[in-house]
């Protein structure tokens, strides 16, 4: 069977049109995927812009909250301020510090920065003398101090110094951890912004951190 020239031509044109169409069809899923990605990105960016506009309207509060929160969780280890805080708390609680030891050479004077996004720890051991009541007050004050320090372990036994059990008091050893978190140095427009200044958790935390007691050097003097 032979096709006429016209019929053959019509078939050829049809096949060519179909071929081109199939070529176009192949690019559709890629473009659909790109659109989906861009739509998602746009939603995130719009939400981020809305959040940033809200933040801009309360920037003074944000800055003051950041300042307070940075006292609790500074950007560097701030060992000198940490020593000062512990000594000040011990003094006001009735403990006498005999020794402060830092883990991993954290007592060095050059401030250390944590890797961005990771909370770093300064481990320290405090040896002190005092009474049960003063230890209790020390722990309470430490839990309410502006620079967050957690006690990880402790022990006490009768002190060998002084005469008589009452006068000798207790020899106390405490294992503690202070924390710091490096500041964020750069952001990209794609980085999601999750700060919700209206959430209950955020408000509670800010309230809690604001209620912590700040130990300043002048208080020591």
């Amino acid at each position: 069977m032979r096709l006429s020239r016209t019929t053959g031509l019509i078939f050829l044109v049809g096949i060519a049109v179909l071929g081109l169409s199939v070529f176009q069809v192949l690019s559709i899923p890629t473009n659909q995927q790109k659109i989906k990605t861009l739509e998602d990105k746009l939603v995130v960016l719009r939400q981020k812009n809305e959040s940033l506009s809200d933040i801009l309207s309360e920037i003074k509060t944000i800055e003051s909250n950041l300042e307070v929160v940075q006292k609790a969780l500074p950007t560097t280890d701030e060992v000198p301020a940490l020593i000062m805080q512990i000594e000040q708390i011990a003094k006001t609680s009735g403990l006498t510090i005999q020794h402060l030891g830092f883990g991993e050479g954290k007592g060095a004077t050059t401030p250390k920065k944590s890797a961005t996004g990771e909370v770093a720890k300064v481990s320290l051991t405090t040896v002190a003398t005092g009474s049960y009541a003063s230890l209790q007050t020390f722990l309470k004050n430490l839990e309410n101090a502006s620079r967050v320090v957690n006690v990880t372990n402790f022990r006490f036994s009768p002190s060998s110094e002084g005469e008589g059990e009452e006068a000798r008091g207790l020899s106390i050893t405490l294992g503690m951890e202070a924390f710091y978190l490096a500041g964020i140095e750069s952001v990209t427009p794609e980085t999601p912004l999750n700060l919700d200044t209206t959430s209950r958790d955020y408000i509670d935390l800010i309230r809690r951190v604001k209620a912590l007691r700040v130990y300043r050097p002048e208080v020591l003097e």
Binding site: Q24, L42, A72, L73, G117, R155, I184, N194, D201, L205
Partner: protein
């Protein structure tokens, strides 16, 4: 019996058949072409719509990005605050409030019992050594430790490791192991 006899010559009949087949093929080819054109047009229109949507979205994303970038200074502060708030929430949630332990113990120690040594290696265990004026006071102390505190247990287990009577002073020396209840040291 009569028989149908075709009077047309065989060639003419074949030619007619060929013409009929050719007409059919031409019709099929037109239908195929029409389908291909419709399909192609559909694909072209849809594809063009996608491309134009893509281009609109790219523009919109670019615009939003530049808005975000213009507020990057504020964003840095907000991101920093957010990171610190989350980290502090986590630290506070996992913190052991050992002042609670000392306060609970001092509430439960009878007047004639005193604690001499205490080791708290973690937020779960406490080893206590102390002296009691009598076995009765020690028993009272142990009962106090097992008491419920505001409907919640503070110590899961209270284990008396050793008790000895000091013959010279008449006092009772004791060693205790306490297991702190989960969450008892949280605020």
């Amino acid at each position: 019996m009569s028989e149908d006899i075709s009077l047309l010559p065989k060639e003419v009949e074949k030619k007619r058949e060929a013409e009929a087949r050719s007409r059919l093929l031409r019709r099929v080819s037109f239908v195929f072409l029409a389908f291909a054109i419709f399909f192609g047009l559909g694909v072209f229109v849809y594809s063009s719509a996608l491309k134009s949507q893509l281009s609109r979205l790219e523009k919109a994303v670019g615009g939003e990005k530049s808005k975000v970038s213009s507020l990057s200074g504020i964003e840095l502060k907000a991101q920093d605050l957010d990171a610190r708030v989350r980290a502090l929430q986590d630290i506070f949630a996992n913190r052991a409030y050992f002042s609670n332990l000392l306060a609970t113990l001092s509430r439960r120690v009878p007047p004639d019992v005193s604690l001499r040594e205490m080791t708290v290696p973690s937020e779960e265990l406490v080893s206590v050594s102390g002296v009691s004026r009598s076995y009765a006071s020690l028993a009272a102390f142990l009962l106090n430790l097992k008491e419920l505190d505001d409907e919640a247990k503070f110590f899961d287990t209270v284990e008396l490791r050793s008790v000895s009577l000091d013959q010279q002073t008449g006092e009772v020396n004791f060693d205790l192991n306490l297991k702190i209840a989960k969450g008892a040291l949280k605020q």
